[in-house]
Structures are given as structure tokens and as C-alpha cells.
């Protein structure tokens, strides 16, 4: 029943009143000034040239993106069954952080957000360490102090995000400026959400970047939402990128579900950082999942808004591109998923078997030498615990 037959009046009203349904902006990338390499079928139709990435590096990125998706699938279930406390989904956002990380060298510094496990994996952090962090166990370098998915590791030059969204942007400028003054060739990248652009720190950081030209790439992951706040009430600007104009910072908008496009623009911006200064890149993508496990998006968005993004899934697009290049096929795809799931199950088993960090560790790491106040608190706590254990023993 495709063509509704109707009385003359009704036909007219239908036309006049039909609101335009939701449309994925990536579909009209050129008209929207969104830089792109591949379309939804993985064909090279975009304005950007195909990036020159070695096949093994490309495949490694794709495999990591699939692993990142599989982690999200499983992490959500772990939270729902009470095995981990909290979960921040990242489904649909794989291309931004993986493409961007691939454009950076291992010695460069990345200041990551809370939806970016691929940063850790591409840098070589073992999977089990990620799960130790989710479970808050001994294998977590943060000793179980932070919410699951709030990761980072200084050993890999990855700065953990603070939960004060956007607050770390000026610090990234400071780090980059220090490198520049020292004549160190290191580059810097910082990732944050569209909502974070409403913080004062975003403006301080961009202003600083415009004036002093530190080698920073700012990546604004525009996933359409800041919890329940959509772009229309977040900003009156047409794009987040153009905010860079006010501060004299080079800026552009990229298809955030096109890992090749993200890689291309980030690589270019990174490579010119020491000469030309910072770039602000708005990566247009979509948060397919809940804001966090405590959210209920049915209260503020329509399923139809989400559905238009499905054909633009970053994994599907990159897979189709790889298939066109004969680098990938169905058999490899199935084997990859099986392997990812098995590795995740093994990591869960190993991480869950680890001990919890002891209470005494909570006083570590703030000062190089513990202050007398902390020492006193620690002694107090340990005495209480000993007393408790003694009473337990008597029972």
C-alpha cells in the first residue's frame, strides 16, 4: 500500500503538513561542508582523496574498531547484570577516536574522553587492563578509583579525561606549549564532546591556541547530544567548528563515521601543528546508545532520529571499503567477531579474578610524599579495619 488514495482535500493536506523526516547529515556531506572520503557503500565519492595507509595498519584499525564495538556490547550487559557499576556506551563513535589515534605517533600525547577505548587499544594497552579498570581491580593503574570507561595511562602517553567535561582543554594547550618552548617535536590531541564547547574552558583554550599556536588538534566529537541536550539548544552557531573562527584557529568539519576521512584531516592537522598551530576539527557522528547506563533516551529522542544513522555505521562503511579493496571478506569478518568475543570473555575472566585494591592504596598517588594528614587518616582506617576483622574472627 504505497500510494495512499484519498479525497482531493486529504491529498493536499498530506503534502502540506508532511514534516521532513529526520535525515542523516552525512548523506549530503558536500552540501553540509562535511569532509568525506567514502559514502555509505564504502565507495570513494567524497571530496577528500583516499588516504595512503599501509594495508596492515588499515586492517589493524578496522579490527580495533570491531573490538571496540564488541567491548560496548559486552560492557552494557556486564553493567545490567550488576558485575560492573556503570557504563558509558560508545557504539557508533568508533571512527572518530580510532581514525584520529591512528594519525598520531606513539610518543604524541592524547587526552582522551570517556567513549574512546580504541585509543588505549591502538596504543597497545592490553585488553585485560581495560577490563580490570571496568571491574575496579588491581590490574587497573588507577586502582579502582574511577568510573568504568574513564581510562588513560601515562605509560602510553594517554592522559585520562577528567569528568568535568571540557575542563582539560586548557591543560592540553599548556602541555603542548611547554613542548613547543622546549623544542620537543611531540604533538598533542584532545577529544571532547559537543556539550563541552559550552564550557568556559573551551573558549579559554581556543583563544590561547589562536594566539600562541601550540601543536594541538582539538577534536570536538559532535554526537548530536549532551545527555538530553540536542545541538539546537546547545549552540546557535551552524557548526561547532566555526567557533574556531572567533579565535583565529583553523577549523573544519569532518564525517565522524568515516574513519578514513577522520584519519586524513587529523593527520594533516597534526603534521602542520608545529608550524601553523592548532586546528579545531568537528567530527559529525551520532551517539547510538544511551548517554550512560543511568540514562533513558526514550524520554527525549525518537527512534526515527537514531534509525537514519544506521546505514552510516562507521564499521559497515569501512568494512565495505575494505571488501572493495579485496582486503576483507565475510569469512574474515566472522572470524574477527568470534575472536573479539573470545578475547573479551578471557579478559573478563582474568580481570574478575583479580583482587580489589586494598583500602590502604586510596591514600597513595596524590602527593609524592604522603602528608601527615593523609598518614593519620590512613592509620585510622587501618586500625578500624583491624578491629573489625578481630570481631569477625571472634564470632
Amino acid at each position: 500500500m504505497k500510494s495512499p488514495k484519498s479525497s482531493a482535500t486529504d491529498a493536499k493536506t498530506t503534502k502540506r503538513d508532511q514534516p521532513p523526516g529526520p535525515v542523516c547529515p552525512l548523506q549530503n556531506a558536500a552540501a553540509n561542508n562535511i569532509r568525506q572520503v567514502i559514502d555509505d557503500q564504502g565507495k570513494l565519492t567524497g571530496d577528500l582523496p583516499e588516504p595512503d595507509i599501509a594495508p596492515e595498519k588499515l586492517l589493524h584499525m578496522y579490527e580495533t574498531m570491531v573490538m571496540v564495538r564488541a567491548i560496548d556490547d559486552r560492557g552494557w550487559i556486564l553493567q545490567r547484570s550488576g558485575r560492573i557499576e556503570f557504563w558509558i556506551p560508545h557504539c557508533g563513535l568508533e571512527a572518530v577516536h580510532n581514525g584520529a589515534t591512528l594519525a598520531y605517533e606513539d610518543d604524541d600525547w592524547i587526552v582522551m574522553g570517556y567513549r574512546h577505548p580504541g585509543v588505549m587499544l591502538l596504543r597497545g594497552v592490553p585488553l585485560v587492563q581495560l577490563f580490570a579498570q571496568f571491574f575496579g581491580r588491581d590490574g587497573d593503574p588507577f586502582k579502582g578509583r574511577r568510573l568504568p570507561t574513564l581510562m588513560g595511562d601515562r605509560r602510553y602517553n594517554i592522559v585520562p579525561t577528567t569528568t568535568q567535561v571540557g575542563s582539560y582543554l586548557p591543560h592540553t594547550c599548556g602541555m603542548a606549549m611547554a613542548a613547543k618552548i622546549k623544542g620537543d617535536a611531540t604533538n598533542f590531541m584532545v577529544m571532547f564532546g559537543d556539550g563541552s564547547s559550552s564550557r568556559g574552558e573551551f573558549h579559554s583554550a581556543l583563544n590561547f591556541a589562536g594566539v600562541h599556536k601550540p601543536p594541538v588538534v582539538f577534536i570536538c566529537e559532535n554526537n548530536g547530544w549532551a545527555i538530553s541536550t540536542p545541538q539546537s539548544t546547545q549552540t546557535a552557531s551552524a557548526t561547532y567548528a566555526e567557533k574556531g573562527d572567533a579565535y583565529g584557529v583553523r577549523n573544519l568539519v569532518v564525517d565522524g563515521n568515516d574513519a578514513l576521512a577522520v584519519y586524513s584531516v587529523v593527520k594533516e592537522a597534526r603534521d602542520m601543528g608545529h608550524d601553523e598551530g592548532a586546528t579545531l576539527i568537528e567530527a559529525v557522528t551520532y551517539r547510538m546508545g544511551y548517554h550512560t547506563s543511568s540514562d533513558n533516551p526514550d524520554l527525549y529522542r525518537e527512534q526515527a532520529d537514531v534509525d537514519v544513522w544506521v546505514p552510516w555505521d562507521p564499521l559497515t562503511r569501512l568494512r565495505k571499503y575494505l571488501e572493495r579493496r579485496k582486503l576483507w571478506n565475510k569469512k574474515k569478518e566472522d572470524a574477527l567477531w568470534t575472536r573479539c568475543k573470545a578475547e573479551i570473555s578471557a579478559a573478563i575472566k582474568a580481570a574478575e579474578a583479580m583482587d580489589f585494591p586494598t583500602p590502604a592504596t586510596m591514600f597513595d598517588d596524590t602527593y609524592e610524599e604522603q602528608t601527615w594528614l593523609l598518614q593519620e587518616q590512613k592509620a585510622h582506617l587501618l586500625a578500624d579495619i583491624a578491629e573489625l576483622e578481630r570481631r569477625e574472627g571472634q564470632k
Binding site: M1, P4, S6, T9, P19, R80, S81, S293, S294, R391
Partner: protein, 420 residues
């Protein structure tokens, strides 16, 4: 034995309503297998199992309110020792089986050890209670300040409110040997269930916001009955029962594809309409949990038999309490049909629109009634209908056009089968 402790899945949730189990005792399940649907302040959630094994005990009944931190179900691990109780928080095991909804659940183990408890308690100022608990207290006229909370750190829980309510309504009748004096008896309170509270809110919203306008009309039902009779044998051969609801649904879907504003939802913020291409027809069903409106999807593209199968399956799952939140989503129009239940001869109704939809149709049972055919008064089968629509978005003329179309389709329902 593994005890699955009800987790706080929503950052600050203290209790959840058990909607239904999706496993049975004795069933062998894998890790991550979905075991139940629960409803919290925030969201309905399907709970996956943390363990693989055999389900040995489902500790609660659908409809029970379960405290976060209590034993939800027990699973016999594959190959694990039976005696050893293993659970995330070591805790005393309740001996008796859990009781019904309002009965109090075993206390969750304290998270903070004894010596530190006082420090925690003193750091709490004012009353601690969830917004839903505060709301319940307000509804019951109970001052939260007068209660001592039984939750962690003195947190006031729903059960504290319920306990306080039952105290104020303690039956006086037990002291009498003669029949109670009804003139002085306290009224009985009926606490709203989650579903009832949601319904109340939505009904009130609809009636207070939408410009309800109702048109009543009647249609000869000879055509509907004839079609049902003619197709019944073929349906039966397929193992199906072709109910009148299915035929009506098909006719309505056909009309809806031609009258876009009736197959729409309201966007209150922009005061605009979303006109939907597919007909997702809500069917108002009475159930133990109150009125529910499961949705049949894409009715316009389905054959009568596919629809009959779809409906039978939905009703069956409804009966087993297995409908999921997805079954209630995305409705574009609602049909309410008193058919089977109707014994009196209801002439018309004023159905309340299931907002954000724009319209709803009530139909009566088909009955022999007096009617005028070819200027002659005669007795014949009739179906009575009442259509309510939101006059803010739909003009009277649109309403008449829709009613004309519906009446015509009910008279000659074969048109619905032929329509493209």
C-alpha cells in the same frame, strides 16, 4: 550456589518492580542470558544473568517490589559446590521464601562496616528519599519527617511509606464480634501500582491538553459478518481464528493511509504533527496490570491472516505477562473494542485519545438493532462507533471525511483487502 543480587542498574536506584521472569526454575542458562524484566524509576530494563548454570530459585513474583541488594534469584553453577554460598556481598541468608509486593525484603548487607557507620549517619542531614518515594508520601498525606527510614543510612523507602499507611488504616473490625459498623469504618486505601500511576498521569494529560471532539456513528455490519464467515474455514485450515478485531483493524488501517492526520503524533513543543507512513495500531486491552495498549506494527501491509497470527501471539504474550516495552512503542492510532466483554448494549462512548496520537476509535460489539433500510424499519446487525480526535489539529471536515471512509469500509470490508 550463586546468588544473583539485584543490582543498582541506574546509579541511585533503591528498588525495582519485577515485571516478569523470562526463565523458569530448572532451566539451564548461559552467562548474559536475559532472566527478567524490571521497571525502575528511570527505565524498564532486561536483566542478564551474571552466571551460567541452572536456575534453582526465582525469589520473587511478578508485581513484587524488590530492594536493590536483595537476593533476586539463585543459580547452581556448573560444577560448583552446592553448600557454598557465593555472592558479591556476603550476607545472612533469609530462611523464609520472599513474600508479596509490600512484604518487607531481607535487609541488604551494610556496605560500610560497623565502626564507620556512625560517621556516615551523622553526615546525612535532612530526609533522604527518592523522588518517587517523596511523591508517594505526598499522595498518602504522610510527613516524611515523622518517619524513620529502614534503608541504608536511614533512607526512607517505599515500604516505610506503605507500613505507615497501613498503620493509619489498621482495621478496627477485629475488635468487634458483631458485624462492623460501616458508618464509622475507615475507607480502604488502594495504593496505585506503577502502571496505574502512569496511566492516571497520561489520561489526565490527554484530557486536559487535547481538544477532544467525539463523533458517534453506526454502520450496518452485514458485510463484516459475511466476510468473517466466508474466510473462517480458510483461516481455520491455517490454524487461525479470524476475530472481528482483525477485520476491523485492516479496514481502519486502510482508512488511515488515506487520512494522514489521523495516523499522526503530536509534537507539543512545536505544536506540529508527525505524519507517519506506517500504521502501527494500538489495541486497548484490559489486563491484570490495568489497561495496556500493545501495538500491531505496519498493519497496512499485512494480510488478514498475518494480522490474525500477530494478534493471537500478542494476546498470548500479554496473558503470560511477557509483553516488553517495545510492544507498546510507536503506536500511531488506537482501536478500543469492548466487543467480547460487552453484555449491555453500549450505544456510544467518548474514548480518551492515547496522546501523543491524534485520534482513537471505539467500536461496540455487533448487535441486532433496529435500523432503516430502503425506507423500511427492520432488525439487522449493527456496529456502533465513536471517534475522538484532537480538534487542535484535525478540523470537523477532516473528521467527517474519515468517518465516511471508515463507515464505507465497514460496510464493504473487501475494499480493505483490495486497496493498495
Amino acid at each position: 550456589m550463586y546468588e544473583f543480587i539485584l543490582p543498582d542498574i541506574g546509579e541511585g536506584i533503591s528498588e525495582a518492580l519485577l515485571i516478569n521472569w523470562t526463565v523458569k526454575t530448572g532451566e539451564r542458562i548461559d552467562e548474559d542470558h536475559l532472566v527478567a524484566t524490571i521497571s525502575t524509576d528511570k527505565v524498564d530494563v532486561e536483566l542478564p544473568s551474571p552466571r551460567a548454570g541452572t536456575v534453582t530459585e526465582l525469589c520473587w513474583q511478578p508485581g513484587d517490589t524488590v530492594l536493590v541488594g536483595s537476593v533476586f534469584m539463585r543459580i547452581e553453577d556448573d560444577g560448583a559446590a552446592t553448600s557454598e554460598v557465593e555472592s558479591p556481598a556476603a550476607r545472612a541468608e533469609p530462611t523464609a521464601a520472599p513474600k508479596a509486593a509490600t512484604a518487607h525484603a531481607p535487609d541488604p548487607a551494610p556496605v560500610v562496616a560497623a565502626p564507620v557507620v556512625t560517621a556516615v549517619a551523622t553526615s546525612v542531614s535532612g530526609v533522604v528519599a527518592a523522588p518517587s518515594t517523596r511523591k508517594l508520601a505526598a499522595e498518602k498525606g504522610i510527613d516524611l519527617g515523622t518517619l524513620t527510614g529502614s534503608g541504608e543510612g536511614g533512607r526512607i523507602l517505599r515500604r516505610d511509606i506503605e507500613a505507615a499507611t497501613s498503620k493509619t488504616t489498621a482495621p478496627a473490625a477485629t475488635t468487634h464480634t458483631t458485624s462492623p459498623d460501616l458508618s464509622t469504618a475507615e475507607p480502604q486505601r488502594e495504593a496505585p501500582s506503577g502502571v496505574r500511576a502512569t496511566m492516571a498521569e497520561r489520561m489526565a494529560h490527554s484530557v486536559h491538553t487535547l481538544a477532544h471532539t467525539t463523533m458517534n456513528f453506526e454502520v450496518p455490519a452485514d458485510g463484516l459478518l459475511a466476510l468473517q464467515e466466508r474466510l473462517a474455514p480458510a483461516a481455520e485450515a491455517d490454524g487461525l481464528k479470524l476475530s472481528m478485531t482483525v477485520i476491523l483493524a485492516k479496514c481502519i488501517a486502510t482508512a488511515l493511509t488515506r487520512h494522514a492526520r489521523f495516523n499522526a503524533t503530536i509534537d507539543e513543543e512545536t505544536c506540529g504533527l508527525l505524519l507517519h507512513p506506517g500504521v502501527h495500531l494500538g489495541l486497548a486491552l484490559a489486563s491484570e496490570r490495568g489497561l495496556t495498549v500493545p501495538v500491531l506494527r505496519d498493519v497496512q501491509t499485512k494480510t488478514l491472516f498475518a494480522l490474525a497470527r500477530n494478534l493471537a501471539e500478542t494476546v498470548e504474550r500479554g496473558r503470560n505477562n511477557q509483553l516488553q516495552s517495545a510492544d507498546f512503542r510507536d503506536g500511531t492510532f488506537t482501536l478500543t473494542n469492548t466487543g467480547g466483554m460487552e453484555q449491555a448494549s453500549i450505544l456510544s462512548g467518548r474514548p480518551v485519545i492515547n496522546a501523543p496520537q491524534t485520534a482513537i476509535l471505539w467500536v461496540s460489539r455487533i448487535k441486532t438493532r433496529p435500523r432503516v433500510v430502503n425506507e423500511q424499519l427492520e432488525a439487522g446487525p449493527m456496529i456502533n462507533c465513536s471517534l475522538s480526535f484532537d480538534h487542535r489539529f484535525i478540523d470537523g471536515a477532516d473528521g467527517i471525511a474519515f468517518v465516511n471512509d471508515i463507515a464505507n469500509l465497514f460496510e464493504i470490508p473487501e475494499q480493505a483487502l483490495a486497496a493498495e
